[in-house]
């Protein structure tokens, strides 16, 4: 994305910019070398399961197949501001708490239908929170999870080449080509 695209896409994700991907003006701590320092493998697989509820496997791979949990760990470790890292690290507990409240069990113990219900509750909550959120107020952990799932999935190889369409070297530009419902969107522009 260059200046023109940045201008064209004032809002990058769901009405805002990607959390942590802007204004890194605060002091930064040295990054750790291993994903595990921030996320254990258990956490990575937990977020893979959460991601797969958001973007499930259909006739194309789902988020888990792209290891979206591993992507989240990298992004949170390297790109998130310390205060956003702290918020993200509450996500797993909060999701489990919500599952406990609704179904008396941890998120991973829930079936797909129950998982969807739990995350629906949280997504409604984050949407409501963001509607009234002051720019400087803390970000919502579930919004982070959702954003990273979408970003990680749609920029992954299966996301770009199977869910969407990707051409590395178009060779030409045509501004008026037919489109019919069901045709996939371009992965990049």
């Amino acid at each position: 994305m260059n200046r023109r695209d940045a201008i064209g896409r004032v809002a990058l994700l769901m009405g805002g910019t990607i959390i942590g991907a802007e204004f890194f003006l605060s002091g930064c701590k040295t990054t750790s070398n291993k994903v595990e320092d921030l996320f254990g493998t258990e956490d990575v697989s937990f977020f893979n399961e959460v991601g797969d509820v958001i973007i499930p496997e259909t006739n194309t791979p789902g988020a888990k197949a792209t290891n979206v949990g591993g992507f989240m760990a990298i992004m949170v470790r390297d790109c998130y501001k310390p205060e956003d890292q702290k918020i993200f690290l509450t996500a797993k507990n909060n999701i489990d708490k919500a599952a406990q409240k609704q179904f008396d069990k941890d998120f991973l113990a829930c079936d797909m239908k129950q998982r969807t219900a739990v995350l629906n509750t949280l997504d409604t909550e984050q949407k409501e929170y963001n509607k009234h959120k002051d720019k400087k107020a803390p970000n919502h952990y579930f919004r982070m999870v959702k954003e990273l799932t979408l970003l990680g999935y749609f920029t992954s190889k299966p996301g770009c080449t199977q869910a969407l369409r990707y051409v590395a070297i178009p060779g030409k530009f045509e501004g008026d080509v037919p489109y019919k419902k069901g045709d996939r969107a371009w992965a990049t522009r």
């Binding site: 200046r3 023109r4 890194f24 003006l25 930064c28 990298i74 390297d78 501004g175 996939r184």
Partner: protein
């Protein structure tokens, strides 16, 4: 490719002596090197940053999106090295290393100032937006007509043949639209507008009865191959460096031409700390260079010095030169060196949604957009401010990052997101910033950079004329889109810190009188006739068109003049 990346030790003085020195290797420095070497001058081009080789150093240019570990975001560690760039959209994983390290090269913000610097061979020619517009006499006559600041010493007729000359070599694609305020040039075939842009353009033309125009951007991307360079492949990743040489940069265009003459030497890691001035001859004899790697100091000598370090750094070099004669540095006798800082103010515009065209899409990624040339204070139009603005923008179908109403996630959500969304269109204004004497940069000797050199202090802001214009930019954008059938038009104005337009200008302006200008009509420093400044520093006003093409034309013109004067024995 680079003949001499420094082998200094034990060489005789002759090895430090050239016919010409070019300070800087960006758009204007590259042109200076090309023109001077092609005219037979042994030339050394001094670049303060690292070497950066065409193709070989474009390390990310052929990676697929998923090969970027952070999918385009920069890390906190990178942000720490680039706190200025990290304020804005330029902070992206692909090109973050092409921006100067803000920690090594700090500056003082008396008023907020965003300075986008690229310290490597090619400078910002690697990263630029490539929009290439001619200025017209409406621009060159503006100061005189408004009685504002000083008159330009040149007119469009002086520059027109040089616009032709640089357009032919650089390769500019565009349409010929017959607009007086945006003269047509020598163009490769235009890129296409997409179907929605065409529709909006038609509606604007109808609604405003031919007094306003939406045209395809004129861009330094090749829509046809030219000798030595392949045509644009519509990847829209120019700023990572083009493996095809599809857009104009020093590396793809002027540098190979200069190297081919056998007359060019390039010296990276060469921070020019001052121009050496001889009081007796009233000319420069060369420059002093601080090696950015070794911290050693060297002198290079030449008959001509071209200063192309970018507007603010060119002024910095002059301020540090000949201070024994003029306290404020070479070119300061007018009292204007470092003053009249200009930029184009933007970060505002409007966007909205378009119904229909659901059966239409695009193929390819166009590294270009649409352009709406200036229409205010022209041809009888009168506003409550001076000058005007243009808009840049584009129409697109929304992608997966849109919100999907009523759906939160799951299979249906996914299936909706993998299809393109509604068409949207956005336009952003680029406004002229008047030259104000009090908008200035100066040396801050209390703060030093990594090399112990004094830094610049930035003291510039938008004033009443620009603020009034910004109100108009937004209301006209909204009105034009709404009258073209665009729905849910939203406007934005994020404010503008000077420098953010990446079009810094004016710090060593051209003029007709040495008492009020730093340079004459041939970009010669009044106080040292063999020193030429041909980058943004030389601008007398800013117009509202992207300025790089004008720097190219001014540079080629000045180089031609310099060599003629040299041959006549005048300098």
């Amino acid at each position: 490719m680079l003949k001499d990346t420094v082998n200094i030790n034990g060489k005789a003085k002759a090895d430090y002596t050239y016919d010409a020195i070019v300070i800087g290797s960006g758009i204007s420095g590259g042109w200076a090197a090309k023109e001077l070497t092609e005219k037979g001058l042994k030339t050394i081009m001094l670049e303060r940053g690292r070497n950066y080789e065409h193709l070989k150093d474009y390390k990310t240019a052929t990676k697929d999106p998923w090969e970027f570990e952070h999918r385009g975001s920069i890390t906190q560690a990178q942000a720490k090295q680039h706190p200025i760039i990290a304020r804005n959209w330029g902070a992206q994983e692909q090109i973050i290393d092409k921006w100067a390290n803000d920690v090594d090269s700090p500056y003082t913000e008396v008023k907020p100032f965003n300075w986008w610097r690229a310290y490597q061979l090619g400078g910002r020619s690697q990263l630029w937006g490539r929009q290439s517009y001619r200025w017209s006499d409406h621009d060159f006559e503006a100061n005189a007509k408004d009685g504002w600041a000083i008159d330009w010493p040149i007119r469009y007729a002086d520059l027109a043949p040089w616009y032709d000359y640089v357009e032919k070599f650089a390769g500019i694609s565009g349409s010929r639209d017959g607009l007086e305020q945006l003269p047509d040039g020598h163009y490769l075939p235009p890129m296409q507008m997409n179907v929605v842009e065409k529709d909006v353009a038609r509606r604007i033309k109808e609604k405003y009865k031919g007094s306003r125009h939406m045209i395809i951007g004129r861009t330094a991307n090749l829509t046809q191959a030219i000798p030595g360079r392949t045509a644009c492949q519509f990847r829209n990743r120019c700023w990572e460096g083009c493996p095809f040489g599809g857009y104009f940069s020093t590396q793809s265009s002027t540098l190979p031409a200069a190297v081919a003459t056998g007359n060019l030497t390039v010296r990276p890691f060469s921070i020019v700390t001052k121009i050496i001035y001889d009081k007796n001859t009233q000319k420069a004899t060369g420059v002093e260079v601080l090696d950015a790697e070794t911290n050693q100091t060297y002198e290079y000598h030449a008959k001509i010095v071209f200063v192309n370090a970018s507007a603010l750094n060119s002024a910095w070099v002059l301020m540090n030169s000949a201070t024994d004669v003029w306290q404020g540095g070479l070119g300061s006798s007018s009292g204007e060196l470092g003053h009249n800082v200009m930029d184009h103010h933007y970060n505002l515009g409007a966007s909205g949604m378009i119904n229909g065209f659901e059966d239409k899409y695009v193929y390819g990624r166009r590294a270009n957009g649409i352009y709406i040339p200036r229409f205010t204070n022209l041809f009888g139009d009168k506003r409550d401010y001076l000058r005007g603005f243009g808009y840049q923008g584009s129409a697109n179908r929304e992608d997966w990052s849109r919100d999907v109403a009523e759906m939160q996630f799951g299979a249906g959500y996914k299936e909706a997101l993998v299809e393109p969304g509604q068409w949207s269109i956005g336009i952003t204004g680029f406004g002229e910033l008047l030259p104000y004497h009090e908008n200035k940069i100066s040396l801050d000797k209390s703060k030093k950079d990594k090399w112990g050199l004094p830094v610049l202090a930035m003291d510039a802001e938008l004033k009443e004329n620009e603020q009034k214009m910004r109100v108009d930019i937004i209301s006209e954008a909204k009105a034009m889109l709404e009258s073209s059938g665009v729905k849910n038009v939203k406007t934005w104005n994020n404010g503008h810190h000077v420098g953010d337009g990446i079009h810094e200008m004016g710090t060593a302006r051209m003029g007709r009188d040495p008492k009020t200008s730093v340079l004459n009509g041939h970009n010669q420093v009044w106080d040292a006739k063999n020193v030429f400044v041909t980058d943004g520093a030389s601008m007398t006003s800013s117009a509202c068109q992207n300025p790089s093409l004008t720097y190219m034309a001014l540079t080629a013109r000045a180089a031609d003049y310099a060599v003629k004067e040299l041959k006549k024995g005048n300098i």
